[in-house]
């Protein structure tokens, strides 16, 4: 195991984040605050409570998930797409590193960054609404699992993408809608039965539900199911990455 290589890639990727610190942190914090102002304050005065939790507090887990998903996908996809685009990937390919080590370096760094952001958003949220975390260990577990899974997904996206449009397309047109429709701002139970069934095909529902359970012990689907679905998605992403490196897809000619 070339631990130094993992360390080098990881440190390089985090240094990239440091160089763009302001936009990497200020932007998500600002947009989260806006959600609170709009949803929490404006709508929250009408919708008072959902299953005994104030509306402002109810949306916190969903908001953290929204940031976590988009940031994981964007960070990881840019992280690997950029060296492909500039050609510096030659160095990674010619180094004595295994596919596993490359993935750990890039995905680890992307996940680290989005976890840090998730925690910052959580802290920001605590300024607006009273937060309660019933199961901190589970909360962290869901946070890490989701960050890693979607960073893997972003990594595959970054390998697949042929241009910057595609990189932005997926988070914007797939992740964000799925998150909005995944019970971030409402409980799935308020939907008509048909839509409840449709919603169950949205993977984000399981993430948000499980994550929210670790805060307030309320959930749209059982926690076990949430965990299993997240694990399943993780496995799917791992399989995709494994296939990419086995075939050299988009990496080697």
């Amino acid at each position: 195991m070339n631990l130094r290589a993992i360390g080098a890639i990881y440190a390089f990727e985090l240094a990239r984040t440091r160089r763009t610190l302001v936009q990497s942190i200020v932007a998500p914090v600002l947009s989260t605050s806006l959600y609170f102002v709009v949803f929490g304050a404006a709508i929250g005065t009408r919708i008072t409570e959902i299953e005994g939790v104030s509306y402002g507090a109810f949306i916190v887990p969903g908001l953290v998930m929204l940031t976590l998903l988009t940031q994981s996908v964007t960070n990881a996809s840019f992280g690997i797409y950029f060296p492909r685009f500039t050609g510096t990937i030659y160095e990674i390919l010619s180094a004595p590193v295994s596919a596993f080590e490359i993935v750990v370096g890039y995905v680890g760094a992307a996940a680290t960054k989005s976890i840090i952001l998730g925690l910052i958003i959580l802290a920001t949220a605590a300024l607006f609404v009273p937060l309660r975390i019933a199961h901190p260990a589970w909360m962290l577990a869901f946070l890490v699992l989701t960050a890693v899974t979607f960073s893997l997904f972003g990594f595959v996206l970054g390998l697949w993408a042929d241009g910057f449009e595609q990189l932005q397309f997926v988070p914007l047109l797939i992740i964000t809608p799925l998150t909005f429709l995944g019970g971030t701002f409402y409980s799935v139970s308020v939907l008509p039965p048909l839509w409840q069934t449709v919603t169950l095909f949205n993977p984000v529902v399981y993430l948000v539900s499980g994550f929210r359970w670790s805060f307030y012990e309320i959930a749209d689907v059982r926690v076990g199911v949430s965990l299993a679905m997240t694990g399943l998605f993780l496995l799917a992403c791992l399989a995709a990455v494994w296939w990419v490196f086995k075939t050299g897809y988009r990496l080697k000619t």
């Binding site: 070339n2 631990l3 130094r4 290589a5 360390g7 080098a8 890639i9 440190a11 390089f12 240094a15 990239r16 160089r19 060296p83 500039t86 050609g87 510096t88 030659y90 160095e91 990674i92 390919l93 010619s94 180094a95 004595p96 590193v97 295994s98 050299g248 080697k252 000619t253």
Partner: protein, 308 residues
Amino acid sequence: MSSIISIRGLSKTYAGGLRALGRIDLEIRRGEIFALLGPNGAGKTTLINIICGIVTPSQGTVTVDGHDIVKHYRATRALIGLVPQELTTNAFENVWATVSFTRGLFGRPADPALIEKVLRELSLWDRRDSMIMTLSGGMKRRVLIAKALAHEPKVLFLDEPTAGVDVELRQGMWQAVRELRDSGVTIILTTHYIEEAELMADRIGVISKGEIILVEEKAELMRKLGKKELTLQLAEPLGAIPPQLAAYRLTLAAGGRELVYTYDAQAGRGGIAGLLRDLGAAGIACRDLHTTQSSLEDIFVDLVHEKP
């Protein structure tokens, strides 16, 4: 001398169906400077990229220091440093960070003293804190060389390393390359400046259309294929070559005012003395004479053009 790189039956067909390499067999000797010459698109970069792990071979095997490049890629890649042909750098990083990064990537412990030495040798020390995007093209090229040397490779590939580097620095660079060779590093370089191959290489390989068409000691190559020409400026123009000189390979030039004698460097009894004596006997006087020797460039052009 033993081989450090053995290439057996190597071929590469790119996805689009383009056959970039035929069946290449080549041995690189330990500690030599090997120059790979060939026209654009001959397959030089493809060959190098296969050995370094960037391009997957279609057929054949390559071993580096006895290790297979696919099965034991960790062992082989750790031995190899690569300076790519394209200037590919991380624009937003500084010189020091990018060179140190390579060392880490190759699994070596941090060694600031070594990085400093490499940067000084390549005249980059003053620019160590500069962002790469602020460097000139020649400086970027040297950053790539510094990166390749940062992990102390035993084999160094230089894919057109001097493209865009000015004359003075180029000489410094070649000096550094010679020192590396003297310290035991094997160097494989491609270049379009044939004088450089002539100046630097111990052996020369010529590749054309994906086939190695010749591998030879440089000195031997020059001896075998190097033509010499003796040009005699005549006092009086000649209409035709006199029959008593027919045994010599002579041509008339400059409207009969010059007589050109072509002879191989290996011809041994070159016969210049004989020719001059016979000229005297035929009553032909000459005002001046000079000789020229074909350069590697001429040899190269001849070779590549002979291939259909």
